[in-house]
Symmetry: C2
Subunit: 291 residues, 2 copies
């Protein structure tokens, strides 16, 4: 009944889908056994522990994406270089167990300016599977946001900004953690516009969040912090989004925030859900790699 297996194996999480011959999901598993906490030699056993029940006497095709293919992963899948199709040159893993045929998708690198992605290329492939004619820009908000220019089904260039990681550090561990208060959309959009116009002032605006909390009882620090960081990201990526067709691939509150930000500065956006797209990308890869 299980025809092949799709795996999204990141630094923190492992997600596994069992699919039938028509591409329907017949079972799904999630685990926190991310690659970040595993030795490469342990990966095969972890995977088998989740999929053992689905394996019969026929060799099981498995497609995996994410940090599982990094230098510290199960086996390194060298980067493709821009411009490139999002999926290309999957590597075949040397497994001990002969009942599984595991292929890991390569990430994408850009030489100038130096940049890398691993995992997002599969989401992009999933998006392009349903929108093969898409010309424009994909924004993937997250710990490390990506802006990706797409043309003729290829990744032409991209840019990574560690906005999400900065937000986590500043909101949880800096002096600003005392001044977050509650969310406010209007403060967010106003501060965002100010930041895009004068991004060089973002750093002093950050401490100002603390000072306003102390002196004025200001209680919307979290909206100011988000706007400062996302505003700085947008100020540095104007060549990606200005007068372009922008698709946001993300989940929940963060995707909503980027849509709100881009709308506030007059850009229309479309939203796609990231988790669906990863599976769709793995389905595209399966057809390309195993057929």
């Amino acid at each position: 009944m299980v025809d092949w297996i799709a795996v999204d194996w990141g630094t923190s999480n492992l997600r596994i889908w069992a699919l039938d011959a028509d591409g329907n999901v017949v079972a799904e598993k999630r685990s926190d056994e991310g690659m970040g906490g595993l030795e490469p030699a342990a990966a095969e056993g972890v995977l088998l522990s989740h999929i053992e029940a689905w394996i019969s006497d026929k060799v099981m095709p498995i497609i995996a994406c994410g940090m599982v293919g990094s230098r510290q992963g199960w086996q390194e899948a060298p980067y493709n270089t821009t411009p490139t199709a999002p999926i290309q040159n999957a590597i075949k893993v040397k497994t001990k167990d002969a009942r599984i045929d595991v292929r890991i998708l390569a990430g994408i690198k850009q030489d100038t300016p130096a940049d890398v992605m691993r995992g997002e290329e599969t989401q992009i492939a999933g998006f392009l599977a349903s929108r093969p004619e898409f010309e424009g820009v994909i924004c993937l908000p997250g710990t490390h946001s990506k802006w990706v220019e797409i043309s003729k089904g290829r990744v032409m260039q991209f840019q990574t900004i560690l906005t999400g990681e900065l937000f986590a550090l500043l909101s949880k561990q800096s002096v600003l953690r005392h001044s977050l208060g509650t969310w406010d959309d209007r403060t967010f959009t106003d501060t965002l516009k100010d930041t895009i116009q004068a991004p060089q002032n973002m750093f002093s605006a950050l401490f100002s969040i603390r000072a306003r909390g102390l002196l004025e009882g200001d209680n919307v620090g979290i909206a100011r912090l988000s706007a400062g960081l996302i505003g700085c990201e947008l100020a540095g990526t104007t060549h990606y989004w200005q007068n372009r067709h922008v698709v946001i691939i993300g989940t929940g509150a963060l995707a909503r925030l980027y849509a709100l930000a881009l709308q506030a500065i007059g850009q229309k956006t479309e939203d796609y859900r990231a988790s669906d797209l990863t599976l769709n990308g793995l389905k595209s890869a399966y057809k390309e790699v195993f057929k």
Copy 2:
């Protein structure tokens, strides 16, 4: 023999000097009993435990500065508002022990843009004690860097940037911690100039440090990170330093870095040692408050 006592009581550290009638230091103590780890009610006991041997039957004058005067400190010393002399309106602490007369120096606030300092005003007073005619700008690098405009002995305006805190978080806890490598002056000054010209690109330049490490074996990430952060600080404070007389008050490597940065962009600087200035500022305050 001890005529009065000077205290620098910050979030993390406590420093105490015993002075004679001529202002000479006759004894000195340091402790890690910063206000950050103390309840307000515990402050008097902690101070007495260090100075007991110096107290006789005469009431001992004590001047303190720093977070000891914050809302979470021993007793709040409300801020003076810019423009203001650096030292003004010390508060008298209600002590249980009648043998000590403790005065805490007020910090300084600025209403627009909102900003605060507490502790730096004493270093500024110490600097102005030896340079009463100074007209120009003082830069105090640190966890929270301060840029301070001085005219006619007063703090006219100032700006805080949390550069040091961002550096600590990014270098120790972000993905960049894997890509720090070793220091290089030339990389620092080159990257600094690029950042000042295009601060909106700083965010993507940060991730680029990681990508260059991965793809090119680049090994000077720490110089790139410092330059990105200090460059962004300088880009947002041009109205303070451009064509101005700038004095740097700081210690060690960080003060050297700011001097290197400002020199690289054609600004001359003078350097003063921060610890000497705090004591000098407390001496000025003593004369003002107790005489």
